[in-house]
Amino acid sequence: MSEPQLAVETERLAKTYLDRATKEPVHALKELSLSCRYGEIYGLLGPNGAGKSTTLRILSTMLAPSSGWAKVDGLDVREEPLEVRRRIGFLSATTGLYARLTPRETLQYFGALHGMEPAALEARVDELLDAFRMHEFADRRCEHLSSGQKQRTSIARAVLHDPPLLILDEPTTGLDILATGDMIEFIEARRDSRRCVLFSTHVLSEAERLCDRIGVIHHGRLLASGTLAELREDTGEEWLDGIFKALVRRAEAGSATT
């Protein structure tokens, strides 16, 4: 069996919710098709409420798509959610740490549930404690850690099983300058290890600095996808803020004429 070439592939992916207040359907995602390759950092760029988080949660099997399909490492997220979860590391502001466990216990717990053998797990935990400079606080409860220490623990938790795909939902939100720098270095290191990183952001400078390819998403639709150079050529704009505005204008003009 040949290995899949794409880390992520979606086709006409859609998600619709019912708004509790208005009782009207909300189309969080509309026919989104994208693909991400191994060894690539792909950034989903868009304002709040654009559909970035919904996309990432469907890919990580936390939400079921209303229509369309999505594959991770060649596996359909709806049909093989367990196998998909074994292949991803997910990190967001809402993937909190278990407050009453220590970082070491957290890693041991996740490792055990990933089916890692005890000896291999201990070795991996030690390796991550070294790599993320966590020894000093490894046995302190997470509720007593600083935000930087929590961040390092969360990253270690997400890469514990060395997943081929790392999904990061606005990974630098709420971080201070030092922690943001650490996060950016970490993401770059993942590209070097030939893994795929798919992350969402609304910070333009992050996307410009890190991404091999960028998908611009607005009102649940993928407006464009490509390298920064391709997007510049497509829109005639130099910087991402201009590119984003041009794509939105074009989409709105298109929807006005249809």
């Binding site: 993937t95 089916g115 099983h161």
Partner: protein, 437 residues
């Protein structure tokens, strides 16, 4: 590129790992320790101790409280009798020389002669406007013929106390008069009845336990599951760990069954500690109130027979409370919902204490009522109706399994991110996936 496929779905190891993690986490939480462990163990001993102290204090204050009694009579034919009665009452209630309180309580007795009317007598006991007390707390009125009258005011605490004391003294007086009359006749001896109880102290204790413990076991099962059920569902959601849990590469049913197992273990622990607390406190209480001959113990047989019923109970309570708590978004919402939901267990547990209600083929499968009645039957000892007990256990085991299945469906409902979902939205998502937009 990715790892190989996992060979099997590891349900049981998942349940064990998740339950151990949740137990470790819960037992590190001071509120869980307080509500699930410390309170069940200390609640009854502390309550009984306070009850005894308060009761002793109130009794001693009541003992030293002096009440006033007037002796009145209708006419000359009973004047001498009234005077003699007044003197007797005074003697019986005067303080002994050793400084202790009189056994019958303090009573100041005064003769008020022969009032002109019944209204004048009544006025002595009624509190006049602007006053705190009446002239007398009670008037003992002796008519020329017929029964004596104790004129009192039951709305006044001192008057009620005076009535109790006077009635006790008059009963003693009547007994003395009867004895004297019978002795003069020489043909009759006073009738005396001796009590002979065939129940041993242990049997009396077993009866006492069978009356009060089943209801308390049910309540403690609920109490023990309450806090962990909220903490592991709405609490986790509030601490933003729900997504962290949903990302685990294991069957979701294993995750939720692991949580249910942790809640059930904590509930069982609370129930066991509570039982220990009750037995300890009951023995202590009985010794303090002078009923030390009653022996409150739980034998190995009773404990072994109680265990399967307690186990089914904690699974049922844990599943219902955890399932309900999973419908809420925050700890506060969870506590509010479960606060009302507790009545699902408390009401039938209370109903099981109704006099005359016994374990029958009809009551055995009645949720919670049957369980409490079965526990009563087991704790009372003696011959057991095995068929009815088995029916109770089987029916409640089915309820527990159904509740656990529903709870897992509720917990496994899709993550909601678009809007703040109501409990009804979550119910729909769990049982009517087709209704999801």
């Amino acid at each position: 590129m990715g790892p190989g496929r996992s060979p099997t779905i590891r349900l049981l190891p998942t349940i064990r790992l998740v339950a151990l993690k949740e137990l470790r986490s819960s037992l590190r939480d001071s509120q869980t320790l307080l509500y699930t462990l410390a309170l069940p163990l200390l609640l009854y001993p502390a309550l009984f101790w306070v009850m005894i102290q308060v009761s002793s204090l109130l009794e001693s204050r009541r003992q030293v409280r002096e009440v006033s009694v007037a002796v009145a009579y209708e006419g000359e034919p009973v004047a001498a009798r009234a005077a003699e009665l007044g003197a007797r009452l005074e003697r019986a209630t005067s303080a002994p020389d050793d400084g202790t309180e009189p056994a019958a309580g303090r009573l100041s007795v005064e003769s008020v002669g022969s009032p002109r009317s019944q209204a004048e007598t009544n006025a002595l006991v009624l509190v006049p406007d602007g006053e705190k007390r009446a002239a007398f707390d009670l008037v003992l009125w002796l008519p020329n013929e017929g029964e004596w009258v104790a004129v009192h005011n039951s709305a006044q605490p001192n008057s009620a106390l005076a009535l109790t004391r006077v009635e006790t003294l008059l009963a003693d007086e009547a007994q003395r008069a009867r004895r004297e009359a019978l002795e003069e006749g020489e043909s009759l001896a006073p009738l005396a009845v001796e009590r002979r109880d065939l129940a041993s102290g242990r049997e009396q204790g077993a009866y006492l336990i069978s009356v009060m413990v089943p209801m308390l076991i049910v309540l403690m099962g609920v109490f023990g599951a309450f806090y962990p059920a909220v903490d592991l569902t709405a609490g986790e959601r509030e601490r933003k760990c729900e997504e962290t849990t949903l990302l685990l590469p294991v069957p979701r049913a294993g995750l939720w069954l692991g949580k249910l197992a942790a809640v059930a273990v904590l509930s069982l622990l609370a129930t066991a500690l509570n039982l220990f607390g009750i037995v300890f406190a009951a023995n202590h209480l009985l010794a303090m109130v002078g009923a030390g001959a009653i022996e409150v113990t739980l034998g190995a047989r009773e404990l072994l027979l109680t265990l399967p019923f307690a186990l089914v109970l904690v699974i049922l309570t844990s599943a219902v409370l955890t399932g309900l708590a999973s419908l809420t978004q925050t700890f506060k919402q969870g506590q509010s919902l479960l606060g009302g939901a507790q009545m699902l267990f408390m009401a039938p547990a209370l109903a099981s204490t109704l006099p005359g209600l016994e374990l029958t083929a009809g009551t055995a499968p009645t949720p919670i009522v049957g369980l409490a009645l079965a526990l009563r039957s087991v704790l009372r000892g003696g011959d057991l109706e095995v068929g009815l007990l088995a029916l109770t256990l089987a029916s409640h085991a089915v309820y527990a399994l159904v509740a656990a299945w529903i709870a897992v469906r509720l917990l496994a409902g899709e993550l909601h991110t678009a809007s703040d979902p109501s409990a009804l939205d979550r119910l729909r998502a769990a049982f009517m996936p087709s209704r999801r937009p």
